[in-house]
Amino acid sequence: MSVRRPKLPIVIGVHALLAVATMAVLYPVMLVVKKAFEPGRQFALSPSPIPKHVTLEHFRALLSARGSHGQLAFLQHTVSSLAVAIATTVVGIALSCTAAYALSRFRFPGRKTALTSFLVVQMFPASLLMIPLYVLLHELGLLNSLSGLVLVYSTTAIPFCVWTLKGYFDSLPRELFEAARVDGAGPIRIFWTIVLPLARPGIAVTALFSFMTAWNEFILASTFLTDEGKYTLPVMLKSSVGQFSADWGQFAAGALLTSLPVMALFYVVQKYLVGGLTAGAVKG
């Protein structure tokens, strides 16, 4: 906390501590990178994070593997994942924009209750709703379908989008809306021609988050999808290191391909996330 610079040994000590901690933090990630380029199916033959031999064999095998109908398996799972994540994002954003605006700008009875319930639903994980949703989708014949999975993901995507967008709308200057109202614009016109264009960055960030959440979700997908042809990427990756035949090489290659893009996205948008999450928790 000190404003002045402390003595040199302390400075060096702190840097060393930080270096050790960072090594520990990065070690598992480096192991995966190593495994992706190292021949062999076993996970770790040596604790060193540097591969002895380098090969692209795992990537080639992964990308050229074919499913039961002769289709390219990795491509198919990527398409499934993309479809689910994009559909979830679109549903989440489309349904929550107007609600977030109402909660941010209007005062009406039940507003507090609505805010709290959106927050509570967002905090309580989908695993609580998993059993009833499973039973309901079973009754509706939507088990083992990607559209059923989108419905399940929307249970958390919508409240998340409502809260994050509300936070963003709160930050827009109030005078703007007042001016538009004085000029005779109705609520729909204000929303459509002023709020939405202004909120574009906020909407983009929210959309990216809800895309990433759906893209990275594992347990619900593995419960609701039973047909291997429909697996999303996480389910496919998990099944590549199953109990009986584990191919860590392909897993590592797949993990890199699957998570590098979303990790990059994460760094682009992460500074907005904390604000949204804790703002919700503090104000709720």
């Binding site: 906390m1 840097h15 996970f43 594992f218 290191v241």
Partner: protein
Amino acid sequence: MKAGDLRRALRDALLVGALLWIAVTAAFVRDRNKDATQRALRHAQAAAELVAIGDTPPTPTAAAAIVGAPVASKQHGFLRRRVAHTAAGERPLGGPTAPAVDKLLYDAAGRYDKDGPFVAMLSDGSERAVAAVATARGPAIAITAGPEPRAPVPWLAVLGHLGLMLVLVGVGAVLGGRARGVGVALGLATWAFPAYFAGGPGLALAMLAVAAAAGWAHATGATDRAIASVRAHKVALSFLAPAGVAMIVLVVVPFAVGLALGFYDHHHGRWTFVGLANFKRILTGDGHALSDPLNFWFILGVTLAWTFVNVMLHVLFGTLFALILRQPWLKARGLWRVLLIVPWAVPNYITALIWKGMFAGEYGAVNSILSGLGLDRVSWFSSWATAFSANVATNTWLGFPFMMVVALGALESIPKELEEAAEVDGASSWQRFKEITLPHLKPALGPAIVLGSIWTFNMFNVIALVSGGKPGGSTDILVTDAYRWAFERGEQYGMAAAMGTIIFLLLLGWTLIGRGLTKGDEEARP
């Protein structure tokens, strides 16, 4: 009598009646489909039994034959041909001129070879049933011709019922005073009759309860006030509607269903009402001793320990790194920060699988490092303490960056002048930490801790993918145990739902306590 009274009473009755109508119709359709399914299954079974003894079935069938065992084709050894024996003689299944139902016969014979005699609906959505019965020459298979006819909608009864409802409501309104509410309640209570026939006594009771509530709300003027308020805020409410309706359909309904399922037992597709039996079974430990990993209280203990240890470590490491990263003399602060939040960016199922791989086996990365340091290799998943530690290590790794970022944000809000002034006044580092840093950290960390503890309490992926509950389910937490009830112990959805309700109540209690605790901080916020 006032015309307004009649209008308002009819309005309330029709509004609530529309909801009841949806529920009763849904129950009616479900009941009717179940009935049709059962008839289809019965017909298929009867037809197959007749085919087995060489008779022709009385009801129309899409296909009916005794199908022989598969024989390798002469030209193509990998093809397995079957022969169908029908009343018209014998013919091979399949081939260029074969009818399309041959495929269904072939598949049914294959299923018979695997499972024995069966009767089931075809999974192609055509609402046809297929049955296979054993004979000496192979399975006798019958497939029904098409969807069974459904019972017609009793329109006359519907019309009569609607009339009765309106009359009761109208009479109440005409009499005025107390009778208005009673009329609405009685009119709506008529829904109990169709509900009883379509959905049983449970649904009928629910209708009566709704009717009573609606009557009471009408009598006290609650509906008038609600409608006036909706009118006054119609813009806001219509903006809220899309997400609100979606939440009701996707969250409120499943949630209510989940609460209700906890009172039922599920066995082979059949639901039986068992009252509080599931909860009793869970809370009394289901016949397991307290030290048994299958006892609820044992799992609860593990869950609480898991949550507490993890959140503590998250806060500890998160705050420690945040305090370090904040020092102005630190070199490459941005870079350290970027590297330290890598675990947050990695999808957590991948993290869990990596750590599982690192702990697994005698030659996993962790064991290799241990032996490199001259320590003994550990079989991580064969004792509780080591398996639990493996889970905690994984979860600490993936969870501390969140707390670190929250703490960093909070520390940034400390005014520089405050610290400089304290230093000039000769406050020690500890004093400055206690009097300046800590009060700034608390309001941000409080909610983050509540949020983080809920996440950890439900951290399904780490438990399921790292230790998988090993050894013997002893590292399971409540959510993974609920999952096992549903998907690994014979589809006991009722028990799983009861478990879900208990988890919800625990979290609700904790959130309320947590809010109480953090509220004080918020008021004290500088």
